[in-house]
């Protein structure tokens, strides 16, 4: 049976032999009949003639045989392809326009898909991915807790639950590296992993070996490089095995290099792997209580996640009790791993990607509508050709196939161009999207265009074919539907002209473009707001360090440095959080407020001016019942009254992990600053409470430097490492936090503008084409009007009337949609500005002006028609 199905393909690929055999068979028949006739007494010539007459039209028989062998389908398809290619070659302007219009949104879709696939969908090259899982803790509010402490991991890993092949841990490191034989250091990313990491994940190695496991002494201070790391750190030195790499002061020796394509299991590229036990050798004993490890594993062949989760339920009770309540786990669960992102992060990535995907899809639809318009006009102009084919026996199905073949050829060409564009742009777009990570020294995962991308582009192109080619082809071939008998009349041909559909498509394109441009305008407004919001302080000279375990010693050592102008401590960094949320109760009322704990030096570091009263001083002990508030907070709590001396009770909200409350007296009022989310402007409220460096409340030490050069930062980092080698001593510039906030809006604004303006360009191309078509179609009528005395300006107005109506309708449809969408966004979040005159008024007006211009340019041609020529020509 399978051979029967494959036979047509075999005949197709051995076509010459098939045709030759068929010729031979028919020739044999002719020769045999000729011989027979000669034997009856006819002359040879007469016999041949009679034999040929009896056999009939051999070409018809050949067609019959080809149809019987299933080759007719291929022959017809090939014929359609050649006809479509010839037809497109004869109209290069239309073909190039159509291919360009479709390739832009296809390329954008492909780039978006590649980014999303790499980070959210793609599985790293591990063995047995279907058995891969990660463990997360469950806190008292049933929320997942991603990281576990070494002590917790040890308790879980002591004996394997049934059905588990093995556990392994990973910890992402971002440390300064020094390569043996080379000066200078660079901050690069890698992982500290458990002994069985390479055995369980099974990545291929191109040089050397992975870790042997089982605390093998040969693994002591061993290091495995990724292919990426081999290139970046050792320039693919063929003698890399045995070379040394200094990580945060400890020398490691390279023992292996993984194959290209494996860069770890994080959404950043890991350049190296070291053993967790070697890394922890430098950490003090009390760090085992810190939650820093990712715990993952693989199920055995007979294992299941349900059974594992059941076993974990009992094991959670045996976890060591952590001193800090924040670290207490109330349960454990195993979750299947589907890529480099965890489930929660994957969902967030999908959520973040949805608006972009929607915008790109809308752009694709606009392009498809545009093409449908162009294609409709083109097909309608070929009605004579179709009537001729129908008269020769082609049914509607044949005509449809021919038209769709032409559209499919356009779509495939657009897919090829889209692939080329995506190949050119994917790396710059990838780098721009994650530029901040790259600047902070993190290496990005490689994105490659592969066979999958080509398949994706082709499938999208073929779907687009159905979108922009299907409906016009159906409409234009309606006069030849099976229900009708005979040739269609003029009325039927006129109805199949598709003028209403063209108008509707144009309105839809303009509406879509309005929507995209208005949204782009709103995003741009928010980006400008993020850019222009006055902070009230200068982040450029501010650098933060993690307070670490010996914050006082660190603060003392840093304060002594000449480069440090001022030093202070804070609970949460400005521009990285809004501060802690608490309820402020006074005079029987309660309002939500934001709170930061600060030491006496912090206001000076930030240069926040005191308006009234006093700031904290050394005499204000930590937990003293005093507070300094911002001006807006004073206005909020005691409008038009003097807040000094008033009492405020601060209470952590019910959902906070630990209950806390304090009554404080307001001792000072300071200027407002924007230290939270920039799009919200100046802090809505801010209450500062006193604390001291080293008492646990202040997690960050903030410095204001005279100059923040890389050399200064490196020196300060070295001081921090001297005091506490195991601490996270990476200096963090507050200007980076500013970029973290501004960059997404800037990126989104640029992306939205690109999409919006591209959609407008596509719509304008459509308008130009449509009006041009109208001018050509109505040439005779316009000639008559001119001959009867119409003014040329009247002609232009007549031609543009339809286009202007479509533009107006499109804006009338698109604007309410945009307003509706902005209302939905406003309901979802109050952080974004959703009303902007520029977006809702200027953008549509600009679109209208440009669209009218696109329609006017071809309309001018109507004024240059020579009436005598127009009247002489056939319509």
């Amino acid at each position: 049976m399978i051979r029967r199905w494959l036979q047509p393909l075999r005949d197709l690929f051995q076509r010459r032999r098939f045709e030759r055999d068929l010729d031979d068979e028919l020739q044999f028949h002719l020769d045999s009949r000729t011989e027979q006739l000669v034997a009856t007494g006819l002359s040879h010539g007469e016999a041949i003639r009679q034999a040929r007459i009896e056999l009939g039209m051999t070409e018809l028989h050949r067609d019959g045989v080809r149809a019987a062998r299933g080759l007719r389908v291929f022959d017809l398809a090939w014929g359609d392809l050649r006809y479509a290619a010839r037809s497109l070659r004869r109209t290069p302007g239309f073909s190039l326009t159509a291919i360009s219009v479709l390739s832009l949104p296809l390329a954008a879709s492909l780039i978006l898909y590649l980014l999303f696939d790499t980070y959210a969908l793609q599985m790293p090259p591990v063995q047995r991915p279907q058995r891969w899982f990660y463990l997360e803790g469950i806190d008292e509010l049933n929320r997942g807790v991603a990281l576990l402490s070494p002590a917790q991991v040890e308790a879980i890993d002591t004996d394997l639950p049934p059905g588990v092949e093995g556990f392994y841990t990973t910890r992402y490191l971002h440390r300064p590296l020094q390569i043996e034989g080379r000066g200078g250091e660079a901050w690069r990313g890698g992982e500290a992993v458990s002994d069985h990491y390479f055995r369980l994940l099974g990545p291929r190695l191109q040089h050397g070996r992975g870790f042997l496991g089982g605390a093998d002494p040969r693994d002591r201070y061993a290091l495995v490089l990724s292919d990426h790391g081999w290139e970046r750190l050792f320039q693919r030195d063929p003698q890399v095995i045995g070379r040394g790499l200094d990580i945060a002061g400890q020398r490691y020796t390279v023992v292996g290099v993984t194959a290209a394509g494996f860069t770890g299991t994080y959404p950043m590229s890991s350049l190296y792997w070291i053993r967790e036990r070697d890394y922890r050798a430098h950490l003090p004993a009390d760090e085992v209580d810190q939650r820093q490890l990712d715990l993952n594993g693989f199920l055995a062949d007979d294992g299941s996640l349900d059974a594992l989760n059941e076993a974990l339920g009992a094991r959670a009770q045996q976890l060591p009790v952590a001193a800090d309540e924040d670290l207490v786990l109330h349960g454990l669960r195993a979750v299947p791993r589907r890529g480099v992102l965890r489930e929660g992060d994957r969902e967030e990535a999908m959520l973040a990607g949805l608006p972009v995907a929607a915008a790109v899809l809308l752009m694709l639809l606009i392009a498809a509508a545009n093409l449908a318009n162009l294609v409709l006009a083109r097909f309608a102009a070929r009605r004579h050709d179709m009537a001729l084919r129908a008269a020769l026996g082609a049914g509607r199905r044949r005509l449809l196939l021919q038209l769709l073949t032409e559209c499919g050829l356009l779509a495939l060409a657009a897919a090829a161009l889209a692939l080329a564009l995506a190949a050119l742009c994917i790396h710059p777009v990838h780098a721009a999207t994650f530029s901040l990570l790259a600047e902070m020294g993190y290496d990005l995962i490689d994105i490659q265009l592969g066979a999958g991308s080509a398949v994706t582009a082709t499938v999208m192109a073929l779907i687009a074919t159905l979108l922009f080619g299907g409906l016009p082809a159906w409409l234009v071939t309606a006069p030849w539907s099976a229900r009708r008998r005979g040739q269609p009349d003029a009325a039927a041909l006129k109805r199949a002209d598709g003028s209403r559909l063209r108008g509707g498509l144009m309105v839809a394109q303009v509406a879509g473009s309005v929507l995209l441009l208005v949204i782009a305008g709103l995003i741009g407004a928010n980006a400008r707001r993020a850019e222009l919001t006055p902070l009230g302080f200068d982040p450029a000279p501010l650098v933060a360090f993690d307070a670490g375990r010996d914050a006082q010693a660190l603060a003392r050592a840093l304060r002594e440095q000449a480069e440090v102008a001022a030093l202070g401590g804070v609970s949460s960094l400005p521009l990285m959080s809004e501060g802690e949320r608490m309820d402020g109760e006074r005079d029987g009322r309660s309002d939500p407020l934001r709170v930061r704990f600060i030491d006496a030096g912090w206001l000076e570091v930030m240069n926040i001016a005191l308006q009234r009263g006093r700031a904290f001083n050394a005499a204000d002990a930590a937990s003293a019942p005093v507070a300094v508030i911002s001006r807006r907070t004073a206005e909020l709590l005691w409008p038009r009254q003097d807040p000094l001396g008033r009492t405020l009770r601060l209470v952590r909200p019910d959902e906070a992990p630990a209950a806390w409350s304090r009554s404080v007296e307001v001792i000072g009022v300071v200027d407002d600053v924007a230290s939270g989310w920039l799009v919200s402007g100046a802090d809505h409220s801010m209450v500062y409470l006193p604390a001291a460096i080293g008492d646990g409340e202040l997690g960050q030490i903030l410095l204001r430097l005279h100059e923040a050069s890389p050399r200064t930062l490196s020196r300060l980092h070295a001081i921090c490492v001297d005091i506490d080698p195991g601490a996270d001593c990476a200096p963090f510039r507050l200007s980076s936090a500013l970029r973290v906030q501004r960059l997404p809006f800037l990126g989104a604004s640029r992306l939205a503008s690109a999409i919006g303006w591209t959609s407008l360009l596509i719509s304008c191309i459509g308008l130009y084409g449509l009006v041009s078509y109208v001018v050509v179609q109505q040439r005779k009528e316009l000639g008559v009007r001119l001959a009867l005395g119409a003014q040329r300006s009247q002609l232009i107005r007549h031609v543009m009337r339809g286009a202007v109506r479509q533009i107006a309708l499109g804006i009338a449809l698109g604007l309410p949609l945009a307003i509706g969408l902005s209302r939905v966004i406003a309901a979802l979040t109050d952080r974004l500005q959703t009303v902007d005159i520029g977006a809702f008024v200027i953008a549509p007006l600009l679109l209208a002006a440009i669209a009218v211009l696109a329609a006017w340019l071809p309309a001018r041609r109507s004024a240059r028609i020579a009436p005598s020529e127009a009247l002489r020509a056939d319509s």
């Binding site: 029967r4 055999d21 031979d24 044999f28 020769d31 045999s32 009939g56 028989h61 062998r69």
Partner: protein, 110 residues
């Protein structure tokens, strides 16, 4: 004078002719005419699409060989599936003929 083959019966006639022994297309044509006593006239060109259709359905097999007059010719032979199909077609034909005979043999009641 020969009669054209009834529509829909060419496949059955071809299968029957082939069942009498492997033969080339021209020979099969002669065989059908001869067995019908020159009553049936098969349209020559129509036979070849029918043969290729039967071959594509796996009811007959084809092999190139040498004819009785030393020419290269394509010989067709019946397959097991073709044998079964022939039996089915013959049974259907006989039932059809019986039915038609039954109608045509009925006399008008006075």
């Amino acid at each position: 004078m020969g009669q054209p083959v009834l529509p829909g019966t060419l496949d059955m006639l071809a299968l029957k002719a082939i069942s009498l022994g492997p033969e080339h297309g021209f020979g099969l044509l002669q065989r059908i005419q001869r067995c019908s006593g020159d009553v049936l006239q098969v349209e020559q060109g129509a036979l070849y699409p029918a043969l290729h259709r039967l071959e594509a359905q796996g009811l007959i097999s084809a092999e190139w060989g040498v004819s009785e007059n030393n020419r290269r010719a394509k010989f067709y032979a019946l397959s097991a599936a073709g044998q079964r199909r022939l039996q089915q077609d013959l049974q259907h034909w006989r039932e059809l003929v019986r039915g038609i005979d039954g109608v045509l043999g009925t006399e008008l009641l006075a």
